[in-house]
Symmetry: D2
Subunit: 377 residues, 4 copies
């Protein structure tokens, strides 16, 4: 693991979720750019002293020297955005597969460059746009693929939080500080931190790409350097229209990612905070609520369910599914087998590039006086 | 009553809600442009034969001749949009107060003209933007007026329906037929029929006017002449930003009007379909659910509540509140008293003009390639 | 109307709900046992002075003298429980139909006696167990009648309130005062005031009668003379088992009447506070939510719906349905027609006797050390 | 681990949840009474061949021989109920700490005997009544301990499922088969499998013990040998009254464990299927919804929260908290430190005995014609 030292939010998440399914073991880490922090984090994580490294460069080079059985099988990169590119690149080029936190890079150029590096390296790469992995997200995607909704017409996706409604970054809160700093976070504030999840979710479930957008970015908290709110009109392939709105100043909202999609024949509605229910509406009969693991759910959805219906599965489980599938892919490759399409059903560099493109285009639109721009490279 | 013959939806609503509080009695009507339909409607409504008139002109002139105790006290106009102006004008000019269904007129010019007529006539005028009359809408407005939210930052308002997701107007359904006909409905489809309610609700609760907007109108159902879907970015006075989206093709949505407003210190959320709950979110404590007539509710809100908490009040009760207040105003005026601000707390011609302006500007924006336009006369 | 003077809760409810459908007009009343209160109430209700009577006896006798067109068509009795029997009896015996608030009488003996009087009089009688009249209650009943649930197994019905969690009766609150007074309320406290609604609802929807019960009554608020809480085990005809619990000390509960019924094949769940939704669960497919007036709802349920789906109908509308049907029955009888079974689908004396029997048996069981007792006359 | 071979539900759960926090590693197992199944399960779990044992006896004896660093630190017993006692006893007597699935034993006698064995052994013992470990359960318990509810009056606890509404055990479903078999499950069906969770939750949150009960057990599915439904009246210490109902024939219910507790001043409501919300109701102000990890939550509750508010935590996380605390206790003991009260805040043998006593008393009451019985040893 690179990044994710003591006190890290997302590093701890990656460790918990990688462990759930008993297929992955944390064997080494460069947990901080500060070598002593890295060492103490390693100790707290019960690692042998010699596998908590002082830098990611050291880790990659030393692990490479170890025998195949001992050395790490892949690297998880969980640093702030500006520190994704270098370790991902170096890991890939030294023959390690990579799981990378989102957004994939500091800017679009890096993302495009990474794609080339991945292709050249032949290594596997996963990007933790974790929200696509909930069982009811899979169910929604499956219903749409199977034509249950008919042609899609309208997509409304939202990702609202309230934790940055005040100037939290001035209080020394570490999570807030780097997210609102353009040097560490990149050009997008809320739009990068959480807006890309919404964009990814909408494209994933609908199977449609955004073709153009008109964005209205705002920074409500005085003195903040990046956007903390965005309202965006969307056009999708095939004529569907939509709205994406995201914010970190919606007082009282925790992690309110939700989506609705309406087609000619039916509609779906899903809320991340109550993720085990999927509302399905129809033209001519009462609406249904599809429930994780319950009667009438597709095999595709059940494939990412771990426990029986009514035992709520949450954020960590969904997140862990990326690791679980990634481990399956690596095991199959090692065993000389070919992973299936379903094994590979997790986000990768293409989703990463879409995310970075989205950030760029949203900012371009907003800066141009909220004009429509095409979402293309 | 003018319009609202047998089979009418909104005419029947007006009759039920006017009756609830025991202050208003239906005494006469011109229920249809077809005299024999008007007569038979009158009979079904237990009216004396001579007070079901063949035309609104006849009604206004004949009622005017009756003695003050017998003749109608005011006129309710519940015809399709294109038939609002003429009867409202004639009633006012002949000394009758008027309650008019929304939108106030066929186009903006008529609305502006009506304002002049009202002022000249000295008569009272109410417009049935009924959704502002729910107790929890009043509670939300009061919280904002009292500063509980601080300066407002974001307003998200939606009015979605699904009943026009197919080409219902071709099936002979009368309600659908006139609403999608530009000759009877006006320039707006969904945007006029329900979008104006959303616009009115947002401005009413927030106390802020929309200053400019960028609209993306769509007609999804092939062959339909008016919009059936709209996604709109909003700017409000004082720097608040927002989204208004409305649709009649959201399969499975019934009458999903809802609003959220976030300020610096707190937020509110209200859903018309479960109107007796108001979620109030805070920066630093658990969210609350304010409930109609329950502990902790303002006198202002309780003033429009009829029964104890937990006995759900619905659409008809809220609608009836306009009639109740209108009756109070007329009674006080008749008694030589001055109605209070609270007595007059119902929509009138100003709200009607805002609604017509909104329709015009949305269409102007959308037709100009979804550009920003100022929302001003 | 007998009872229901100024400040009355239920009297005002009866007046509002009787008016909604435009079939019933308040023409006279004896609104209080205090003649001057009755007079002033009549004035406030816009009645002619000579039809606000000083006593119910006076009203019945004088109205009887009026010509058929002028005199009242029926009497609504909305007094506290101990004052039901005398006016109902006198009205019936003088040729007036009667609508009576629940519970039907002060004790079981009176209820049995009333049945005889009704039969002898040939007059119509309705009892306002209003909660059976919600559209989604009708939908639930219909599903069960049609066999959608199969044989019923388990019924859980609850009616919880919190308004008597403190000794409100000592504060001079009139509604509280008579309800906890055995001389005015009868032998039951919560069990009579609201428990009978729960019993009635369970028997109505299920179509099954309670055969025996085991009750645990409690008075939690010190110094109160009647029960304010009850937990009851139930056995129904056909082997179904159940629970009825009711309370007026459940802090924060408003008017939480809800019911669930599980059969061999499906289940239903309904909550009075959100009355327009009915959850229907199945063995082998996702659960559905049936919505008032929406797609897939039975004609039987739609027959008591007044407005389109998504326009919430509430307590007053459901209550008004009893009056609406009662008016239909009277109109048909007057016209020499035979009312249909559906016209007569409102509670009457049989439901009244069941309610009084229930109160008696619950108290008998609880007093005997919470033993099982048969629920039979 | 003892039990929990391939295809096991609860064994897999124990493995996932033990792994989440990175403190516990599966090192060996006797996964089945069939040695070859045990071996193949071990292989699937990536264990070395020599640590997948043919029987629990073999495992305990051989592990005991290993050096302290290598051998297992504790044993997790996840067999069906009838196979709890022997391995737990042997593990304890051979110096291993034990985590045991619930109910603790096949019958009450075994549970009492186990208590003596635990005390004599000096080993640590945890029982996985996992539902007490949700953050919002802790929050509810804390509110009550702090007096926010005042004296408690009413407790309503339910645990309903629908998966045994048909005779699933005849279909070869392994989970169903042993649960309805008195030889493997014990004297209780639903009452043992899930009713004990409800009993445990009610006593845990309220801090009150059940003193007597009156139970109505039913077997609805023909030919089944154990109860599949129970309705129970409860009396608690201090005068609180309550209801516990549990069922496995409530068609469409998944894992509907929920509880409400009303005191003199406030009330709480919690639902396991949406575990991150806790409703708190008050006498004199709007109700609140407390949310896992969100503003206004106690340190005690936050102590079992792993991720920020709005990232839903579920069943596995709550279950894992028992393992996390158990590991903390063992680590502290090993380090010569004294675990805190909060470290020990997980269920143990006392809760196990209460559960077995509850099963016995429920059956005794029901068999005696649903009479009241004291819940004491």
């Amino acid at each position: 693991m690179i990044g994710g030292g003591t006190g890290s939010f997302i590093g701890n998440v990656h460790r918990m979720v990688a462990a759930i399914d008993g297929q992955i073991e944390l064997v080494c880490g460069a947990f901080s750019s500060n070598p002593s922090t890295s060492k103490s984090s390693g100790k707290a994580l019960l690692l042998p002293e010699d596998r908590a490294y002082g830098s990611f460069e050291e880790m990659i080079l030393k692990e490479k020297e170890l025998d195949a059985k001992t050395r790490m099988d892949f690297v998880a990169v969980v640093t702030p955005n500006f520190m994704h590119f270098a370790p991902v690149k170096m890991a890939l080029e030294n023959g390690f597969h990579v799981v990378c936190d989102k957004p994939v890079s500091f800017n679009l150029e890096e993302a495009i460059e990474l794609k080339k590096i991945i292709e050249k390296s032949g290594m596997e790469f996963a990007l933790t746009h974790n929200y696509t992995e909930y069982p009811m997200v899979k169910q929604a995607k499956k219903l749409i693929e199977d034509g249950a909704l008919g042609n899609l017409r309208k997509i409304i996706v939202e990702y609202s939080q309230g934790w940055l409604a005040t100037k939290l970054e001035d209080s020394g809160q570490k999570q807030a500080a780097w997210r609102v700093d353009p040097k560490r976070s990149g050009a997008g504030g809320a739009i990068g931190d959480i807006g890309t999840h919404a964009e990814n979710l909408a494209e994933y479930i609908s199977g449609l790409k955004i073709t153009e957008l008109c964005a209205d970015l705002t920074t409500f908290v005085e003195g903040r350097l990046l956007d903390d709110d965005a309202n965006i009109l969307l056009h999708f392939e095939g004529g569907a229209k939509g709205i994406l709105h995201t914010s970190q100043i919606c007082v009282g909202e925790e992690n309110n990612l939700n989506i609705r999609i309406y087609g000619e024949k039916a509609g779906i509605e899903w809320h991340q905070q109550e993720p085990n229910s999927l509302r399905v509406t129809y033209l001519d009969k009462p609406y249904e609520v599809h429930r994780t693991g319950s009667a009438g759910i597709s095999d595709y959805s059940n494939g990412v369910t771990r426990i029986p219906a009514g035992h709520p599965e949450g954020y960590l489980e969904a997140f862990g599914t990326i690791y679980k599938k990634f481990a399956t892919v690596l095991q199959k490759l090692e065993a000389g087998e070919t992973p299936t399409t379903e094994d590979y059903d997790y986000p990768g560099i293409e989703e990463g590039i879409r995310g970075m493109l989205f950030i760029d285009k949203v900012i371009e639109s907003s800066n141009a006086g909220q004009q429509w721009v095409k979402m293309e490279l």
